[in-house]
């Protein structure tokens, strides 16, 4: 087992951590797919409002890569297709039937897996609509089916606040997980399955022989991009894909049962919930359905799907997308704090030691307030101290401002894992990760055009 130590990063100690217990929720009345949550996908709809769909029937495909299929998470009638600005499809809502029909795919036995070749296995996953779970570095786009990656990273747990615990999502699914790992072994040159050792002895005990790397470090040490960066230091490890432990279960479900998986375990956290815990419900369930299970508080709260640092604002009426396994509810914080910058700050959340809270080990309450106005970069170097892939974010940002793309690339723009820590900690409130994100997106688009 390889042990990896990631020196930089940050774990904020926050109130509202989910318990490991799981609540099984009844079926919601409607489900949705959120196409905009898939990176770099231009959806071409294959259904229209009023159509009848079944669990696992195609809803849309990618215009650029039509082989990518995106399937329906439930059976029923297409109730509504919501378009955003420039007619981007933001949600396809399905009202569930009493008796949901489902598509059947060919199930695989253990023996089939031994004899089957890689191409055939891949076709199973593509047809089964789970190929988008494989993402490739550095752009985190959906993996290319024509590629053979040297390494496939399987991320078991995340340090991002309030994310799903392996104890919770693996409970009762260990066999499926092992099967899923056998499937993955066929797909890539080598498999790096890793967990954050200091947190989860459960994974190490239960998945002996499967987990082959442990990672020490703070958020985002577990990120595949970070792990890749630090392993790569010892020589070039070439093309890399990644998938999360939760998603391995979905793949196992598809191949074992021959049906599109319908359920997921979500971690529910944040101070906007009276009883944060894990819930198990349908894929693509409405946000309101999930939070009601955890006694949401009344008030101006934001529901964030996918984590405080890299998630999206799912709104009050939104739906969970395919990649998201956690939902966090925290106050919007749209208030003007009286003499905010002068307070001793006994319970303020900060990377710095400029508040008295640095003296006490107390979980802090957070909200979405920016806690200050945007200012020019003063070169304080906080971002550099946190960056897990050893970039110099302040210099990279300045290079991008000057349109010096080559320089930004040399600084490691493509190594950026978009953990959001630089923007989170910047005292000048500069949206560094947003700047890097849009630069990376532009680079990806240009690369696609060139290819």
């Amino acid at each position: 087992m390889k042990t990896l130590f990631i020196p930089n990063g940050h774990n904020p100690d926050l109130r509202g951590n989910p318990e490991a217990s799981i609540i099984h929720l009844p079926r919601p009345s409607s489900l949705a797919v959120v196409p905009s949550a898939f990176p770099f996908v231009k959806p071409r709809l294959q259904v229209k409002e009023g159509d009848r769909v079944s669990l696992g029937s195609p809803l849309f495909e990618d215009k650029r890569r039509p082989e990518l299929r995106f399937l329906s998470p439930g059976g029923g009638i297409i109730e509504n297709i919501i378009f955003g600005p420039r007619r981007i499809v933001t949600a396809i809502i399905i009202r569930l039937d009493e008796k949901e029909e489902r598509e059947f795919f060919q199930p695989l036995e253990n023996e089939d897996l031994e004899t089957m070749d890689r191409e055939e296995l891949m076709q199973h996953l593509v047809k089964g609509g789970l190929w988008p779970l494989f993402r490739s570095l550095p752009f985190r786009a959906i993996a290319d089916t024509k590629e053979l990656p040297d390494t496939l990273y399987v991320r078991m747990d995340s340090h991002q606040p309030f994310s799903a615990l392996p104890e919770a999502y693996l409970q009762g699914h260990l066999e499926a997980f092992r099967f899923g790992i056998r499937v993955l072994k066929k797909l890539a040159g080598q498999l790096a399955v890793y967990t954050c050792a200091e947190q989860h002895s459960f994974v190490l005990n239960e998945c002996q022989g499967v987990v082959n790397h442990t990672v020490f470090g703070r958020y985002p040490a577990q990120d595949p991009g970070v792990v890749h960066y630090h392993l790569r230091k010892k020589g070039n490890t070439g093309k890399a894909w990644f998938i999360t432990g939760e998603d391995v279960l979905l793949i196992a479900h598809l191949l074992e049962t021959g049906t599109y998986p319908g359920e997921r375990t979500y971690a529910m956290g944040g101070t906007g919930l009276a009883s944060p815990c894990h819930v198990r419900t349908r894929f693509g369930a409405p946000v309101s359905h999930l939070i009601e299970a955890c006694d949401p508080l009344e008030g101006n709260f934001r529901n964030i799907a996918g984590g405080l640092f890299r998630g999206r604002n799912a709104g009050q009426e939104g739906f969970m997308s395919m990649y998201e396994t956690s939902l966090t509810r925290i106050p919007e914080g749209k208030e003007k704090e009286y003499f905010g910058f002068m307070r001793p700050g006994l319970s303020k959340n900060s990377v710095s030691r400029t508040f008295l809270s640095a003296l006490f080990n107390r979980p802090a309450k957070v909200d979405c307030n920016t806690h200050g106005e945007e200012r020019a970069c003063i070169n304080c170097g906080t971002c550099t101290r946190l960056c897990p892939v050893e970039m110099l974010p302040q210099f990279t940002m300045k290079a991008l401002h000057a349109d010096a793309i080559e320089e930004a690339l040399a600084h490691g723009l493509l190594d950026c894992v978009q953990c959001g820590l630089c923007a989170y900690a910047c005292p000048s409130k500069i949206d560094l990760s947003g700047i890097f994100g849009s630069a990376r997106e532009k680079l990806y688009q240009e690369q696609q055009k060139g290819a």
């Binding site: 070439g238 999206r312 009286y338 070169n379 210099f395 989170y424 947003g434």
Partner: protein
């Protein structure tokens, strides 16, 4: 109180908004409002949460660290003024006398400085940055007590406009604005900025020597024992460390600079590498010169290196000026080197250039110019080690 202030800002806000007749001054309005209330802006995308630290607090911590030095400086200046005037040198009268000297300089510094800050902010449609709160306080502390106020005003104007605003304002300046201001005054009005006469308010009388330790050291004949001369002038090592000596208002006490340094280092607001590098630079260069000193060279070469740490403005400069994050380098290796070179240059200027007995100011300004170059080299080395992404 809170509600009253809130409603005051809420009633006047519409005038400064888009359609209001005072819209061009909205930066000014916001600068005042955000002193009382943090803005209610929220994040729009990930990361959804932001650190509680903002530049206002960042700069406030620096001010907090300066306060002990400033209070002692006020007392010390007042003490010497009372001594020169033959009045009571008890604590309270000295402190009050000091306030009478310091407050006008502070008011001029903040008043004139804010005028320029506000002018540029309004013209550019920017907010007013907090950076000036620090520069405006540092500047009067490094002035001699009797500097005519109009000279102080011209100095700070030069510091803010030429040292900072023409580069684009806070965060974009090459030079430390407070030091730029002081350098301007130093070269423009040498009569009021150097010599023995300027360090004690009311002018030095025969009873009170106005010579600083640096002046004594610079004027010493080759072969003379400077520590003994300093002791004789009442400027022993202990007095220099505590700061009961004539000098610029705030820079005499190394002891309180250490207190400020501790505040800055513990809170992480200033980079300790620059300070430690600076001290190492002084000691290293000083000791090297001690080794090379012979009778025919400058006497200051033989001065024990640790004297340089407590003499003149070195402690103040390395703690509060050199650590200004904007004009200092942004990479750790460069910060070590930057600090070290400031220390080394300070000693070299003090020892070999009697025209400028105080080397710290020039050393920091000089290294300010080299900070981007130091960063450049460090970054080049870092980038060479990076494995490019395929």
């Amino acid at each position: 109180m809170q509600r009253w202030i809130r409603s005051f800002f809420d009633t006047h806000r519409p005038k400064f908004e888009k359609e209001g007749r005072l819209h061009r001054y909205h930066g000014l309005f916001e600068a005042f409002e955000t002193i009382f209330f943090l803005p209610d802006s929220t994040t729009s995308q990930s990361p959804h949460i932001r650190d509680s630290l903002d530049l206002k607090r960042f700069m406030s911590i620096v001010i907090l660290a300066i306060v002990p030095v400033a209070l002692f400086g006020i007392y010390n200046t007042g003490y010497y003024a009372c001594l020169a005037a033959g009045e009571s040198t008890a604590f309270i009268p000295s402190f009050i006398q000091g306030l009478f000297i310091f407050i006008p300089l502070l008011v001029v510094s903040y008043g004139v400085g804010f005028f320029w800050e506000a002018l540029f902010a309004v013209r550019r449609g920017h907010g007013i940055s907090e950076g000036f709160l620090v520069s405006g306080l540092l500047y009067p502390l490094i002035l001699p007590p009797d500097l005519p106020l109009w000279q102080a005003a011209i100095g700070i104007s030069f510091g803010v406009v030429i040292g900072k605003e023409i580069f684009g304002g806070t965060g974009r300046n090459l030079l430390n604005p407070a030091l730029t201001a002081r350098a301007f005054v130093f070269f423009a009005y040498p009569g009021q900025m150097s010599g023995d006469a300027v360090w004690i308010s009311g002018g030095a009388t025969d009873a009170v020597s106005g010579a600083t330790a640096l002046a004594i050291s610079a004027q010493a004949e080759p072969g003379s024992q400077i520590p003994a001369m300093l002791d004789q002038a009442g400027l022993g090592l202990f007095e220099l460390f505590v700061g009961r000596t004539p000098g610029s208002i705030g820079e005499t006490s190394a002891l309180l600079c250490i207190v400020g340094a501790l505040i800055l280092i513990i809170t992480g607001v200033a980079n300790w590498r620059i300070m430690v590098g600076g001290v190492l630079g002084v000691l290293g260069t000083g000791m090297l010169l001690n080794q090379l000193a012979t009778g025919s060279f400058a006497a200051a070469m033989a001065l024990p290196a640790y004297y340089h740490l407590v003499m003149g403005g070195f402690a103040f400069g390395i703690v509060f000026m050199a650590t200004d994050p904007v004009s200092a380098p942004g990479t750790d290796a460069a910060r070590w080197l930057y600090g070290f070179l400031i220390g080394a240059l300070t000693v070299l200027i003090r020892v070999f250039n009697p025209a400028y007995p105080e080397g710290t100011m020039l050393a920091i300004l000089f290294m300010n110019l080299f900070a981007p170059l130091l960063d450049h080299f460090v970054i080049q080395i870092r980038l060479r080690k990076r494995i490019s992404h395929v």
